[in-house]
């Protein structure tokens, strides 16, 4: 039928149901790892996180730094040996933006990269509303209550020689971690932004890949137009990839999925949806997926956020 990894029957990919799957990456199960290095001891700040003993994947960790990268875009470094050691590219953390009831639900944010030596990880977030707004007011030394790492990571295989990575807007962040972890492949990156001012981390992406192509909606940097235009052109020019990884707005993902299918390339997309629990219990984070000839709702927090593109029904 299609060209998804699942269809091709990679055992590592087809099998993981819920969180018990065995992933090749790091040679251990990504979500069920024993809580070890984490026990709150963060070599980075050389002190234990405050308040709460981490239970399961929940912990309270200190903020190491907060930097403004662009208007309303912040990078936060958080000390957590546990997350640094256990996180996989594509996974996210679920952060409580404050104590009390100013915001109630946790906010899902992708892991940008980890620093295993220092026991810390980075996130980048855009201030959208109250929750991200309050996160942006944190200072070094403050703590954040986090559940993570959560979710299915990108499927990484040593056999991939040439990969394409497509990101749009705030969707670019999990892709940096992915690039960093895929040491051996040849990596072509396509990033799309609204305009020049919105471009962040381009140096980091530059360093983490073999060739970086940027598009902006208004042409103020890189090519004018959509990032999918860049991908399409490259594919039409005969470029081939073993896999395409994409993260960004719905329409972008739909187009990437279409292009991947057209060119018979396996493709993974990372989705967003409003969440309640973040751990698969409340069933609010639904997304439409194919189930044989029929469809059903899968859940972004536990079945995703990363899905094989040909499993997703993009019509909602």
């Amino acid at each position: 039928m299609t060209n998804s990894g699942a269809q091709k029957g990679t055992p590592l990919d087809a099998q993981p149901v819920g969180r018990k799957g065995v992933y090749p990456y790091l040679k251990r199960t990504p979500l069920d790892v024993q809580f070890t290095g984490g026990k709150g001891v963060s070599p980075y700040l050389n002190r234990t996180p405050l308040d709460v003993q981490p239970v399961g994947r929940k912990g309270v960790y200190p903020v190491v730094r907060l930097d403004a990268l662009a208007p309303d875009i912040y990078l936060m470094r958080i000390a957590s040996g546990y997350i640094a050691e256990n996180a996989l590219p594509g996974q996210f953390v679920n952060i409580r933006s404050c104590e009390g009831i100013n915001t109630l639900l946790r906010r899902p944010i992708s892991i940008l990269r980890v620093d295993r030596d220092k026991g810390a990880f980075d996130i980048v977030f855009q201030v959208r509303g109250k929750g991200t707004g309050m996160l942006a007011m944190k200072k070094a030394g403050d703590t954040v209550d986090i559940i993570g790492p959560l979710g299915k990571p990108f499927f990484i295989n040593e056999s991939f020689r040439k990969i394409a990575v497509v990101g749009g807007g705030i969707g670019i962040f999990p892709l940096l971690f992915l690039l960093k972890e895929m040491q051996s492949a040849e990596k072509t990156v396509f990033l799309g932004f609204r305009n020049k001012e919105c471009i962040v981390l381009s140096d980091d992406f530059e360093k983490a890949c073999d060739s970086l192509h940027i598009a902006t909606d208004d042409g103020s940097a890189g090519r004018k137009g959509l990032v999918t235009g860049l991908l399409e052109e490259s594919l039409d020019n005969g470029q081939t990839f073993d896999i395409i990884y994409a993260c960004g707005p719905g329409p972008m993902l739909k187009k990437v999925a279409y292009l991947a299918k057209k060119h018979n390339i396996r493709c993974q997309v990372s989705l967003e949806q409003r969440m309640g629990c973040g751990i698969g219990a409340c069933l609010v984070c639904a997304c439409k997926t194919k189930q044989g000839d029929d469809w059903d709702y899968s859940h972004v927090c536990k079945d995703g956020p990363v899905f094989w593109s040909d499993q997703i029904i993009f019509d909602e």
Binding site: L105, C277, I279
Partner: protein, 313 residues
């Protein structure tokens, strides 16, 4: 072990509801705790009094379109729409897992017709569960269960009919979206309910003013969380003071102190819902909070506080 520990160990946290013994009065609320499985790595399920599982229907249901959740001041709106694998898959796949833990299992059921409710009650009567909770009040499904919970005649009919098929203790869960919760509760009691739980969510709406559309794809949803607590406490008090069967209170509970409000108002047990999303250990924290309160005031048993509210004047 110091003196305080000793004292705490002398406190009897057990409650009995319709013949089910709970090791403590804290139950995870339906729809917020999946089938227990999802929370098992965050919290020791053995420490929770009981789990009311995600609302079950006779057949598998996909539920509503996303987005299914919106945050509101001190609350959330949800419109999951009863996504669930159906009662049979629940029995095959979920009960065996849940039964590994020492916690009561309550099957929360919803139907499109009274016949569906009865059929489910019958099926579940021979399953390894402790009680059935009748969701006659889910506001997220268009046709169906809303109607039953809104009127005295509706609640009487469904309770009476399901009762006839139900060999397990029957808990009827009430909707707060009514003019007079007391008459609804009385009707449920008179029609054979063994216990009452309340409140389900309050019907609400949130609008995305930039898209000029409701946030939820389903347009409306059910409000839960701290915001609803005063309404839930009031209704728990109203119902507990009029029925003789046990009342399970819920709505906005996230701490032991919150739970104590409901218990003073007359609830024999409480359910914790939305708080689980914020704090996966909420149920255990609530149970410990209750114990601390009892300890502080030198009570020996939760029964020493149930319904012990004194009115002013």
């Amino acid at each position: 072990m110091n003196l305080t520990d000793n004292m705490a160990d002398n406190i009897n946290m057990q409650v009995e509801i319709a013949g089910i013994k709970l090791k403590n009065p804290v139950i995870a609320a339906s729809g917020t705790f999946g089938f227990g499985r999802e929370y098992a790595e965050y919290v020791d399920l053995n420490k929770i009094g009981g789990i009311s599982v995600k609302g079950l229907t006779l057949q598998k249901r996909r539920g509503n379109k996303p987005p299914r959740i919106a945050e509101t001041p001190a609350g959330i709106l949800n419109s999951v729409g009863l996504q669930n694998p159906g009662v049979k898959e629940f029995i095959e796949k979920e009960i065996p897992f849940l039964r590994k833990f020492d916690t009561a299992v309550i099957a929360n059921i919803a139907g499109n017709t009274i016949e569906e409710y009865c059929e489910m009650a019958e099926i579940l009567s021979s399953a390894n569960i402790d009680a059935i909770e009748l969701n006659v009040s889910c506001p997220n499904v268009k046709a169906g269960c809303v109607a039953f919970g809104n009127t005295v005649s509706g609640i009487s009919e469904i309770t009476r009919k399901v009762r006839a098929f139900c060999k397990k203790p029957l808990i009827v869960k009430l909707t707060p979206n009514v003019t007079d919760i007391k008459e609804i509760a009385k009707a449920a009691e008179d029609s054979g309910a063994d216990a009452i739980s309340l409140i389900n969510t309050i019907l609400g709406m949130a609008i995305d003013i930039h898209k000029r559309r409701p946030v939820l794809a389903n347009n409306m949803g059910g409000l839960s969380g701290p915001a609803v607590k005063p309404v839930a406490v009031r209704m728990t008090y109203e119902v507990a003071s009029i029925v003789k069967i046990p009342v399970i209170g819920m709505g906005g509970i996230s701490s032991g102190d919150d739970a104590i409000e409901f218990m003073l108002a007359g609830a024999c047990a409480v359910m914790v819902g939305t708080a689980n999303f914020v704090n996966p250990e909420a149920c255990v924290d609530v149970a410990e909070g209750i114990k601390k309160y009892l300890e502080k005031y030198n009570y020996k048993s939760v029964y020493d506080i149930i319904g012990k509210l004194e009115l002013n004047e």
